[in-house]
Amino acid sequence: MDISAIMQEIYTARWTLWGGLLTTLEISAIAISAGTLAGVMIGIGLAYGPLVLRLVLRGYVDLVRGIPSLVLIFFCFYGTALLGLNLSAFAAGVFALGLFCAAHIGELTRGAVQSIPQAQTDAAKSIGLGFWRRLVYAILPQALRRVLPGWVNIAAEIVKGSTLLSLIGVVELLLATQQAIARTFLILEFYLALIVVFFIINFAISRAGALLERRMAYVRF
C-alpha cells in the first residue's frame, strides 16, 4: 500500500481519531489539574498538618503509590458501581487518574516544601506574615522550582496512563486508533501515528516544564 493510500485511510478515520485525541487531552487535563491542586494541598497537609491529618494523608499517599494504576482504575470503575454510585467510565477513569496524580504530587510537594530552609520561614515570620501568606508569598514560589522536574514526569505518566481507560471502554486515543485498525488492518501505520502523537503531547509538557524552570532560574540560594 502506498503512502497516499495510507493517508487516505487516516483521513477517513480522522473524526474517530480526533475524538480520541480530544478525549485523551480532556482526561489528562482534568486529572493533572485536579490532581495537582489536590496534591499541593496534600503536600501542605503532610508538611504542616496536625498528627492525625498527617497520618491519614500519609496512609492515602502510600496506599495509592503502591497500587498499579490499572488496578486503581478498575477499582474506581467497578467499585463505585458496587457502592451504588453511577459513575460513567470516563468519570471513574478520570477520578482514578486524579487520585494517582494527587498522591504523587502530594509527596513531591511535601519534599519540596520541607527542603526550603527554615531561615526562609523565619524571615517570612519576621516581617509579620501569617501561615498562609508565608506559604503563598515565600515558601511555595521557591518550592515550585524544585517541584517542576518531578511534576513533568508525573504529568507525562498521567497522559500515558490515560490509555488504560480504553480497558474500561473509554474511547480515548488508543481505543480510537484500535477501532481504525480494526477497520483498515493498517496496524503498523496507525500505531506509528499513535506513537508520534503521544510523543508530541509529552514532549510539549516536558518543554513547557523546562522553559518554566529556566524562567525561574533566579530562585537560588
Binding site: Q120, D122, K125, S126, I127, G128, Q142, R145, F221
Partner: protein, 259 residues
C-alpha cells in the same frame, strides 16, 4: 514617658530539652537605646533575641514591648500562648536582621522590601515602592532595586535585609550577628548602615562580635554567660574596667585595644 522602657524582659527562661539556655534574663531597653549583647557562642544571646519576636518560644518569665506582652497571656489556668494571629501582628512591630541575610531568593531587592509593606501593612504598591526606594537609597543600593539576591554580594544582601526590616518602621529592631557571615572587607559597609540607623534614634538590640563597633555605637552593653547576664553597663565601663575575670578573658585582645 521617656522613663518607661520600650522593651522590658523579666526573668526569661528557656530550655532546649534539659539544657537551660536562658536562665532568668532581666533587661530593660529605653527608646533610642542601642543595646549590644556580647558573649561566647552558646551563651544564649541569639536565643534571647529570637524570643523577643517569638521565633523561639520561652518557658517562663515575660517580655513586654511598649506595654504589650509578647507571645503569651496569663489566664486563671496559667500561662497561655497567644493565638497565632496575635503573635504574627506582634512580629510585625519588631524588625530582625539575620546572620544569613535570609532574603527571599525569588524576589528582587525592591520586592523583598515591599512584600511586608503591601501584604502586612496594607500599603498600596506605589506607596510601598516609594518607601522601598527611600530605604534602598539610604543603605546605598538605589541602583540595585531590580537585582535578585544571587546577583548581590553578601554585604549588599545584608543591607537589603536591613532595609526590609526597617521599612515597616518597627518599634524595635534586632540584629543577630549580622556581619558574621561576611568577608572582612564587606563588614564595614553593613556596620556603617547600622551606625547611621543608631544615630537616627532607632532602638536597637544587637548581638555582635564586632567589639570596636559595639564600643563606638552601643549605649549599653550586656555580657551574657551560660544563659545569664553576667555583667552590664556602658561600653566604657565594660570594656575598660571589666569586673569579672570571665569578661576580661572573653574580651582578650580587645581588652588590650581599649586600655
Amino acid at each position: 514617658m521617656p522613663d518607661t522602657p520600650l522593651l522590658s524582659a523579666r526573668n526569661v527562661h528557656k530550655r532546649f530539652g534539659a539544657v537551660e539556655v536562658l536562665n532568668g534574663i532581666d533587661l530593660d531597653i529605653t527608646r533610642g537605646q542601642v543595646v549590644a549583647l556580647i558573649g561566647a557562642s552558646g551563651s544564649g544571646k541569639t536565643t534571647f533575641l529570637r524570643c523577643v519576636n517569638m521565633l523561639e518560644e520561652y518557658h517562663d518569665g515575660e517580655i513586654v514591648l511598649d506595654g504589650e506582652r509578647i507571645g503569651y497571656t496569663t489566664t486563671p489556668a496559667g500561662r497561655r500562648r497567644l493565638p497565632e494571629r496575635a503573635i504574627v501582628a506582634q512580629r510585625g512591630r519588631i524588625g530582625i536582621v539575620f546572620q544569613g541575610y535570609n532574603l527571599f531568593p525569588h524576589l528582587t531587592a525592591e520586592q523583598n522590601v515591599t512584600l511586608g509593606l503591601v501584604k502586612v501593612l496594607g500599603k498600596s504598591k506605589a506607596e510601598a515602592r516609594d518607601i522601598a526606594a527611600g530605604w534602598l537609597e539610604r543603605v546605598g543600593l538605589a541602583d540595585r532595586r531590580g537585582h535578585y539576591p544571587y546577583q548581590l554580594s553578601g554585604g549588599q544582601q545584608q543591607r537589603v535585609a536591613i532595609a526590609r526590616a526597617v521599612a515597616a518602621e518597627p518599634k524595635l529592631i534586632l540584629f543577630d550577628e549580622v556581619t558574621s557571615a561576611l568577608d572582612p572587607e564587606l563588614v564595614s559597609e553593613v556596620l556603617e548602615v547600622m551606625r547611621s540607623l543608631a544615630e537616627s534614634g532607632m532602638t536597637m538590640l544587637v548581638v555582635s562580635h564586632e567589639m570596636l563597633f559595639v564600643n563606638a555605637v552601643a549605649t549599653h552593653v550586656v555580657f551574657m554567660e551560660q544563659g545569664r547576664i553576667a555583667e552590664q553597663g556602658t561600653p566604657d565601663a565594660l570594656f575598660r574596667n571589666p569586673e569579672s575575670e570571665r569578661l576580661r578573658s572573653f574580651l582578650g585582645r580587645f581588652h588590650q585595644v581599649f586600655r
